[in-house]
Point group: C2
Chain length 300, copies 2
């Protein structure tokens, strides 16, 4: 780390160029970012070519991104950054109050315009020949009182067996394998979906290029995304993972947590599905007095 060979005042000069109207949080964030970027460059003696290769990769990510795809997010994901930021937010919340259901990353395939569906509805609108139909059901409950929350929203999304979400695949009808559900008078939600299957993250952009350069596989373990919300409760973004998946220990985006691993079990006497998954979502009441600012930013 022979960083003393380089101008020792340079980084402080860049940081101190910030003016008096910068907000305190912005000043702290930018100072930390500039210091780490510069230390990285000095420690690794980053060359002009290497730096420019990184710039071109980030520009490429931006050009690939649109309403349906966020490649900049995916680049962060394969470097573990989204999972880490999720852990930080979760830890701050845990310290502020109790532990809700563990969180996981939102991922780049969430769609804000997903429609509401009826409980018991089948979200498999385009059926793949190799899909295993699954009945998923459970309740949304208050983490502390265990009481059911009536009228809570449970939003789910999953990839099809070809590894693609509907917005990536012209052969799937729009909003296939997605839906928003309102819990009933017992706090229950239910729907038919596919048993999730592992799939590779898209490898036609810089995230895929990075994985190749790092000699890593692109697979994510089988999972279902959940975003649960209820008035005056903390919104919860999570993913649940199939215990039998072979990528559970080496998720390409590092999102697996032990408490999010679930068991799919055989289901009897249901012509629509041979498998079921029962999963209760636990939400924590939002307490403005003890929450501080941390949770204001947990919702994207």
């Amino acid at each position: 780390m022979a960083t003393h060979r380089f101008d020792p005042t340079f980084t402080d000069n860049v940081i101190n160029a910030m003016g008096p109207k910068t907000t305190p949080r912005m000043r702290k964030l930018m100072a930390g970012l500039i210091r780490h970027m510069h230390d990285f460059a000095r420690e690794e003696e980053l060359t002009v070519d290497e730096w420019m290769a990184g710039v071109q990769m980030l520009n490429w990510a931006g050009r690939m991104s649109d309403d349906k795809r966020n490649e900049g997010q995916l680049v962060c994901d394969v470097l573990g950054l989204e999972s880490l930021v999720d852990e930080i937010t979760f830890t701050l919340a845990e310290e502020a109050q109790d532990a809700p259901t563990a969180t996981a990353i939102l991922g780049p395939f969430f769609r804000a315009d997903t429609p509401y569906r009826e409980n018991g509805e089948d979200i498999v609108k385009t059926k793949p020949a190799d899909g295993e139909m699954t009945f998923m059901h459970g309740r949304v409950i208050d983490f502390q009182t265990k009481k059911p929350l009536v009228g809570a929203t449970v939003e789910v999304w999953q990839a099809s067996t070809n590894g693609l979400y509907e917005q990536q695949d012209p052969d799937q009808v729009e909003f296939n394998l997605r839906g928003k559900f309102k819990t009933d008078e017992d706090g229950k939600y239910s729907f038919y979906c596919l048993r999730p299957t592992p799939y590779p993250v898209p490898n036609d952009g810089p995230a895929g290029k990075l994985l190749e350069l790092m000699d890593r596989h692109p697979f994510r373990p089988a999972h279902i995304h959940i975003l649960a919300t209820y008035d005056n409760y903390r919104p919860l973004t999570t993913q649940i993972f199939d215990r039998k998946d072979k990528y559970l220990d080496n998720d390409s985006v590092f999102a697996v947590k032990d408490s999010l691993v679930v068991d799919f079990v055989p289901r009897k006497d249901d012509p629509q599905a041979a498998i079921e998954l029962e999963y209760d979502v636990k939400l924590v009441k939002f307490e403005p007095s003890t929450d501080g600012g941390a949770w204001a930013s947990s919702r994207i």
Copy 2:
């Protein structure tokens, strides 16, 4: 820096996910990048919203970038990263051999397709009313022997008095204020240009937004870009700055070095220009035996 509150194994897990086919340099660079990114996130307790704001800013930079504009590069520039990487490359070269003319960043307005012009030609093809015509001339010499280099290429580019390079400004003809020159039998080059004027970096993208958030002005001190090349010599990318400029001490991209500050002086008996600048470019011979890999990457 209460980083112990977060999973202490997470960052090592991400780094150790790299496979055996990663090159040693890639493994070192990615390990350093991941460690600094993660340390930054933990130390500043980066929230999901703040991280996502950063992702959107990088995606925005990519969408703005094309053959004529590199906004990802400009974002790095306002954070001092290009100047730092330039210093690192220069220092490695200095340690390997002698000190050539100091280098400076290429900047985002270089064009690879700039045409050759005759010595003595006027590169001001679109004349601004407030431009001060300047005769720039000098030699390209060997740094050690001081001998002139015949047939060396000197490429220059500068902004017009409205602060815009020709590719940013539909009112300037293509390749205005740019040119490539071959040194004559005495190693001399010469051309007419404008006395450079300070200008703001483009503020319609994420780099401008960052400057605003950091409460910094966007101005660069008046300068002329130079890229000089000669067979078997190290290519030189630099900028020269007008000593009288008021932004010399607070360049928005941190590129000024004392040895690159020059004096424009009055010129007599030339109806084409009332000012002149004499500037010799010193190039260092490329010695493969002592150069190592550092200089292979100094040319973009």
